[in-house]
């Protein structure tokens, strides 16, 4: 199918993009990589009257250290998550997740900011912002603000972003020694959206887990931290009993939705299997 007719405006600055959106109101959409928006337009799931192209705004680009965080510009492409040394060194969980995001050609255009803004519950990166304890930097008509990833994802495709607001960057605490991470997902076919996926960031003293953040995706309406499982591990080591306790906690932490393809009980089972594998890897010092 072909999209409904729309006007197109290429913004050179954040202000231009915000102003254009403010004037056009609800009928405008920002377009970054277009890897989710273009299919939605082609299928006429959405039919805005104006597309505001933000892909050429220099201030949305670039990855740099800022104090003890890494500032990842919204326009950072999925493929750059694989190739940028700063990501590999300071946000290795994102590096680990990136090969699972779509296919190579989609990674060449899709952007980190677009993925987080869309908040697809089956997407890898939104869930990883939860595991990392990241903060989302937002610019809007009434100025800039930062929202913790924990407060950002509200419901299915619904985030703390107000209409007309832009994600400008995501701030990720720098990975440091004494931390471990693990990522994996179960999918029918490489590049497909996961049946269940999970990323973990843990801080240790010796083998003792001081702090652990576990985020799942493809398990409900939003990416989901599993706080019961986290609590079952905090203060302990990765022994078999604690891993089993964390797996058991998922029953209360997750409420997978009814679906014809994957019944809730099967998804919960897959989540337990995946968590067991990842915690096992972390215990071996992964």
């Amino acid at each position: 199918m072909k999209p409904r007719a729309f006007s197109y405006f290429r913004a050179d600055t954040i202000d231009q993009a915000l102003n254009a959106h403010a004037r056009a109101g609800d009928d405008a959409r920002f377009i970054a990589g277009g890897q989710s928006l273009v299919p939605a337009l082609s299928l006429r799931l959405q039919a805005p009257r104006l597309l505001i192209d933000i892909a050429h705004i220099a201030d949305l680009r670039g990855i740099r250290r800022e104090g003890d965080t890494l500032r990842i510009g919204a326009l950072t492409r999925h493929c750059e998550m694989l190739s940028e040394p700063l990501i590999a060194e300071f946000a290795p969980l994102l590096r680990a997740a990136a090969p699972f995001v779509a296919h190579p050609a989609i990674r060449n255009r899709g952007t980190f900011g677009g993925s987080v803004a869309l908040a697809d519950p089956a997407s890898e990166f939104p869930a990883m912002t939860l595991a990392l304890g990241a903060e989302i930097e937002i610019a809007g008509p009434s100025g800039s603000r930062r929202v913790k990833a924990d407060d950002f994802f509200i419901d299915l495709f619904e985030t703390a972003l107000q209409p007309g607001e832009l994600i400008t960057a995501v701030h990720v605490p720098l990975f440091r020694s004494g931390q471990r991470f693990a990522f994996d997902e179960l999918a029918r076919r490489r590049g497909d959206y996961a049946l269940v996926g999970c990323g973990i960031l843990a801080s240790h003293t010796g083998d003792r887990i001081d702090d652990i953040r576990i985020a799942f995706f493809s398990v409900g309406n939003t990416p989901t931290r599993v706080k019961g499982a986290e609590a079952a591990l905090t203060g302990f080591t990765f022994d078999a009993a604690r891993i089993a306790a964390a797996q058991a906690a998922l029953e209360d932490d997750l409420a997978p939705p009814e679906s014809d393809e994957v019944p809730p009980a099967m998804r919960l089972h897959l989540a337990r299997v995946l968590l067991g594998r990842l915690l096992g890897r972390l215990g071996e010092g992964a």
């Binding site: 299919p39 779509a102 296919h103 190579p104």
Partner: protein
């Protein structure tokens, strides 16, 4: 450029815009409606029909072209977004000879039957081999995960790419040893 005018919103939706790109090394300017995808522009306006339109939603990979040197789905992009970009289609890659060995190997091994998927497969294989000199068969399959082929069963395609990767590595080694004996 302080923003858009209201007139543009109400009346301008299907008015064409002038875009310029460098397509296969030639400068091109054309008038496109904002909603026209790059694949439609390439095929219908520029008559470069080597790029195929299949699913038009990013799922099949038939429409891959190179934008500024990277493989991209031309159905997931509006032509206006490509304004100012360098675009290389299967026609350009063929003419330049950079994929001649891949094309010959696809032919030799029957890695195409109807040929609908072939331009996308070649663009994808070209990018893979420019990034990884000797990918494993698994890595080749992984890279092709977004390209559908309804005819071949993929095996011959993987064989062809694998064979070209091997041949390119060997050719490089030979060049190096020839260079070595000359000094």
């Amino acid at each position: 450029m302080s923003g858009i005018g209201d007139d543009m919103l109400v009346d301008g939706a299907d008015e064409t815009m002038r875009v310029r790109f460098v397509v296969n090394g030639r400068k091109v300017a054309c008038e496109v409606a904002p909603r026209e995808t790059l694949v439609d522009c390439l095929r219908n306006v520029l008559e470069l029909t080597g790029t195929h339109a299949g699913c038009e939603m990013g799922a099949c990979g038939a429409c891959l072209v190179q934008i500024d040197g990277r493989a991209v789905h031309s159905c997931l992009m509006f032509a206006v977004q490509a304004d100012g970009a360098r675009i290389d289609t299967i026609e350009g890659l063929s003419e330049s000879g950079v994929i001649a060995d891949l094309q010959a190997e696809f032919h030799r091994r029957n890695a195409l039957q109807c040929g609908f998927c072939t331009p996308g497969m070649l663009v994808n294989a070209h990018e893979l081999l420019s990034q990884v000199t000797r990918p494993s068969r698994e890595a080749i399959r992984d890279a092709l995960s977004g390209n559908y082929c309804r005819c071949t069963g993929y095996e011959a395609i993987v064989d062809a790419i694998d064979a070209v990767a091997k041949a390119r590595v060997e050719a490089r080694v030979e060049v190096r040893s020839e260079g070595g004996s000359a000094t």
